[in-house]
């Protein structure tokens, strides 16, 4: 039986998607909805892998979804941390400033001053750091794995592949 395709390349593509969503200002706000952007990367890794599956190859399994999601998460964590540090160095935390300004305008008089201070200090914390990398290495594979499982649920084949019929008996 032919071997399944390599998982590295689809996982890398998924990881790049994850990294771009996590690093690009304003787009990264998607992750405020339970890491939707990170899960999307794991989901897309399964999509790319599914496209690589040819006829006769064993079908997509739940373990493939798990492995692809987790691998995409590892790639996404490393690439995303470097990319977001680069973007932070160039333009700063533009999305963070915009969100804090908006909140101050909307709820400024209702929010406790320490909460506002905490928000202001947190938007300065966006450059490359060991802590950011460690957090990303925990969060991204975890949520990527969930995205991979959701991807498996969506892309798994409905039909059960049947084994080929036995050869006909020899005729004289």
């Amino acid at each position: 039986m032919p071997q399944k395709p390599n998982k590295m390349l689809p996982a890398l593509y998924g990881g790049v998607i994850m990294a771009v969503i996590s690093a690009v200002p304003f787009l990264n706000l998607v992750n405020c909805l339970c890491c939707a952007g990170i899960m999307f990367g794991g989901f897309m890794a399964v999509f790319f892998y599914k496209n690589d599956l040819r006829e006769g190859v064993p079908p997509l399994e739940n373990s493939d979804g798990l492995a692809l999601g987790a691998l995409a998460g590892l790639f996404g964590a490393v690439i995303g941390t470097i990319l977001s540090a680069g973007i932070f160095a160039v333009v700063g935390n533009v999305a963070g400033h915009a969100v804090v300004n908006m909140l101050e305008g909307m709820f400024g008089n209702q929010m406790p001053p320490e909460a506002l201070d905490q928000m202001r200090s947190s938007i300065e914390d966006g450059g490359f750091s060991f802590t950011n990398m460690v957090i990303a290495l925990i969060i991204d594979p975890l949520f990527g794995l969930l995205g991979g499982l959701i991807g498996f649920q969506v892309f798994k084949s409905k039909t059960v592949t049947m084994p080929p019929p036995p050869p006909p008996p020899p005729t004289r």
Partner: protein
């Protein structure tokens, strides 16, 4: 596939630890020394996955939980889903139309989020918790069987590879 007994408790334990960390952040917040540092670390950790807006968070002992009310509902109901899983699906392994269940579970939450962001209405914490709970609970029921089976398959294939190439293995042809 036969799933080893310890897979379910491991997944349950990890989910309890995750939810415990969300609750531990406010409980340790006011304490001096190491406890306060752990609390700040937990808030910092959860800040990467949640906006943590004070007005959209549930509070415990005067401090907001580690994540907002919607996320709290998702993770909390996910834990409930895992806890009740053996009674709901595990006993008879009821087949589910998982794609449609996931979509139906996510739809109310997505509508709530989109309408809220468009400014059409301001969802209350009650709506956030309700829609998040539906999603978290059903997601647990849908995802858990594949998480358990997939983990078992991965561990099995890993062990098989190492069994074929035990420690100290040398390829005679390359020697």
């Amino acid at each position: 596939m036969i799933i080893p007994r310890h897979v379910y408790p491991i997944i349950l334990g990890l989910t309890i630890a995750w939810c415990g960390a969300i609750v531990a952040a406010p409980l340790l917040a006011g304490l001096p020394g190491m406890s306060g540092m752990i609390s700040r670390g937990l808030y910092r950790f959860f800040h990467t996955i949640c906006h943590q807006f004070d007005g959209r968070s549930l509070h415990l002992v005067g401090h907001p939980l580690g994540v907002c009310s919607r996320c709290t509902a998702i993770y909390g109901s996910f834990l409930v889903g895992i806890l009740v899983f053996p009674w709901i699906r595990g006993v008879r392994n009821i087949p589910l139309q998982t794609r449609w269940i996931l979509l139906a579970a996510a739809l109310p939450m997505l509508i709530d989020v989109v309408l809220g962001h468009l400014g059409i209405y301001e969802p209350s914490n009650t709506y956030r918790i309700a829609t998040g709970s539906v999603f978290g609970f059903l997601a647990a029921l849908v995802i858990l069987p594949d998480a358990m089976e997939g983990t078992t398959r991965l561990v099995f294939s890993f062990k098989q590879q190492h069994h074929n190439h035990p420690k100290g293995y040398t390829d005679a042809s390359k020697a």
